[in-house]
């Protein structure tokens, strides 16, 4: 089985992100693999363990994103590819999907392309379905469990209403959620292998794509209004007394 895991690099979720001069700033907080995409790599590696084959980590991003790809290699991915091009700064999700689809074709296709659920930065959770649409492959989104059987794949989708079992022929595009299992830690050997790996960098012309014109664009960036929460601690002699006071406070808020 040939599996591609699509990953992005984002500021760590502990980062203090701020708007500064219309730009996003995260200070000196580290850039990491998008946490949702760690599950994508984990899901891909699980399938490789069951069916054999290879896992290729794929990212569209700046040179620095090689670090995120190295994390995927350290987890156990066999190869990594970075698509990087100066013209790709204002990529929206349709644009990302077109570039990813072209890169997937350039890699020589795949049996399965695994995505994360969404990106942590300005993620919309649109790219997986859009990539599937561009490729003309079936989309199995929000998979919590994956089972490959010959030429087809069956997933358990985790939806608001419960779990839905869905099946499609390969090649297919999947996105995965946390129920897939905790992403494995990079092994010592994996880290060594990743630090030595040379990651090919492809330009748009390498993959035969042109720069997609952005359709969705940002016009303004703001810090959210400061949330002033004055916390009122409720105390009392007994749980009943505390509960009595708290109940009155909640009712007075008129939120019920």
């Amino acid at each position: 089985m040939k599996i591609i895991a699509c990953i992005k690099q984002v500021p760590d979720s502990e980062a203090k992100v701020k708007a500064e001069g219309g730009q996003v700033s995260w200070g000196d907080a580290p850039l990491v693999i998008n946490p949702f995409d760690e599950y994508a790599v984990e899901g891909a590696l699980q399938q490789k363990e069951i069916s054999g084959g290879t896992v290729t980590a794929l990212c569209v991003g700046p040179e620095s994103a090689k670090e995120a790809l190295k994390h995927a290699l350290a987890m156990g991915a066999d190869e990594a590819v970075l698509v990087s091009d100066a013209t790709l700064n204002d990529l929206d999700t349709v644009g990302a999907a077109k570039v990813l689809a072209a890169a997937i074709q350039k890699i020589g296709g795949a049996d399965m392309v695994v995505f994360g659920r969404q990106t942590l930065d300005n993620g919309a959770g649109l790219t997986p379905a859009q990539t599937a649409r561009v490729l003309g492959w079936p989309m199995l989104g929000l998979a919590g469990q994956i089972k490959v059987d010959g030429g087809s794949v069956q997933v358990e989708r985790v939806l608001e209403e419960g779990r839905q079992s869905m099946k499609a022929n390969l090649p297919a595009v999947l996105s995965v959620v946390q129920s897939i299992g905790e992403p494995r830690y990079p092994s010592f050997m994996g880290i060594r292998k990743a630090s030595k790996a040379t990651i090919p960098v492809w330009s748009l012309s390498d993959i035969g794509a042109s720069a997609p014109a952005p359709i969705v664009t940002r016009t303004e960036l703001m810090n959210p209004p400061a949330q002033e929460t004055a916390t009122e601690m409720i105390t009392g002699e007994t749980p009943a007394e505390i509960a009595e006071k708290l109940a009155d406070k909640i009712i007075a808020e008129k939120v019920l």
Partner: protein, 337 residues
């Protein structure tokens, strides 16, 4: 101005934010509701009662089960023939996929998770949280039609006018399915955190009651889960009394105390209820990003230094196994239930 509003439903059960989208569409001009599926007459009727000027119904066997491909193609075909200016959706797992695909077909874009939408001449300016709510951005979409999925509870729900009638037009389904639905598992009951007005959540703390003695023969892990279930029973009782939903931290989900569908936070659901009661939850950033937009936050925690208190309007330092039952009792009395 002509707006399509996609009414998202699961087996006839409508996602309430669909009506909020309909209300928003009406504020711009004509609102045409789209209902896809089979046997969806009741949904179409409800759309008229909530104010749709017209309802387009694609009732076709190929749409019996939601599949992104057929739903997207049907939408694309309607949008191509009727040229709406705007297509609104409630934000759900299904609409994200179908909007995403249809946008590729129509060479346009999707504004997601929109919490405000203004018209500016021909274009729409959307406001949405990014970076887990740490920033707010305004975006525009230069394609046509503009597609936008709206955040639940961000826009007012229009009143329902029972018995209001109007035009329901049958339209054709389009596209070919690329997958088959094999079934739904009943083991996980519906969890609708997105539009809950009240959420009572439990964290790792719900398993921490050493005075409870689990049934004999359980190993340590089983005993922990058993204790957590007693804790979640208290959480659920309060949630039900207040007409709300049950949420959970990731530690509770990972511990096997409750299913993932209940998880609030970065890798779970982002929620904005009027009241959020966090019980035995420490308040890690990844949890906070999922609930800090709640109007009123109440935290119950044993540890006075738990970071959750910094976000809370009201805090109680105490054992949830004592405070929760007392709170449920007090609420019952005061609400006359």
């Amino acid at each position: 101005m002509k707006t399509f509003v996609y009414i998202d439903h699961f087996k006839g059960e409508v996602q309430p934010a669909s009506w909020e989208a309909l209300g928003l569409a009406k504020s711009f001009g004509a609102a045409i509701a789209l209902v896809f599926g089979t046997g969806v007459d009741a949904v179409a009727k409800a759309a008229l009662e909530y104010g749709a000027d017209e309802v387009l119904v694609a009732d076709d066997a190929s749409l019996a089960d939601y599949r992104a491909e057929t739903y997207a193609s049907t939408l694309t075909s309607l949008a191509s023939s009727q040229s709406p200016n705007l297509i609104l959706f409630p934000t759900t797992a299904r609409t994200r996929e179908m909007a995403a695909m249809s946008a590729v077909d129509l060479n346009t874009g999707v504004l997601t998770d929109v919490s405000a939408l203004e018209v500016n001449g021909e274009s729409f300016i959307s406001t949405r949280p990014i970076y887990e709510g740490k920033l707010i951005e305004k975006t525009v979409c230069s394609g046509k039609p503009v597609m936008a999925t709206i955040r639940g509870r961000a826009f007012p729900k229009p009143n329902r006018e029972e018995g209001k009638s109007g035009t329901i037009t049958k339209v054709a389904a389009a596209g070919e399915a690329k997958s088959t639905v094999e079934g739904y598992s009943a083991s996980e009951s519906a969890v609708n955190l997105g539009d809950a007005g009240v959420i009572v959540s439990g964290g790792r703390g719900v398993s921490n009651n050493p005075s409870l003695t689990p049934p004999a023969g359980m190993d340590e892990k089983q005993a922990e889960i058993w204790r957590a279930q007693q804790g979640f029973a208290l959480v659920t009782e309060l949630a039900q009394l207040l007409g709300g939903a049950v949420g959970a931290s990731r530690a509770a989900v990972d511990g096997g105390y409750i299913t993932y569908a209940h998880q609030v936070g970065q890798t779970g659901k982002v929620v904005a209820p009027d009241l959020y009661i966090a019980c035995g939850i420490s308040g890690a950033i990844q949890h906070l990003v999922g609930m800090r937009n709640a109007k009123v936050i109440v935290a119950i925690n044993k540890d006075a230094d738990a970071p959750i208190f910094k976000q809370a309007r009201y805090g109680v330092v105490g054992d949830l196994f004592q405070i929760l039952p007392a709170l449920t009792e007090a609420m019952k009395k005061k609400l006359g239930k």
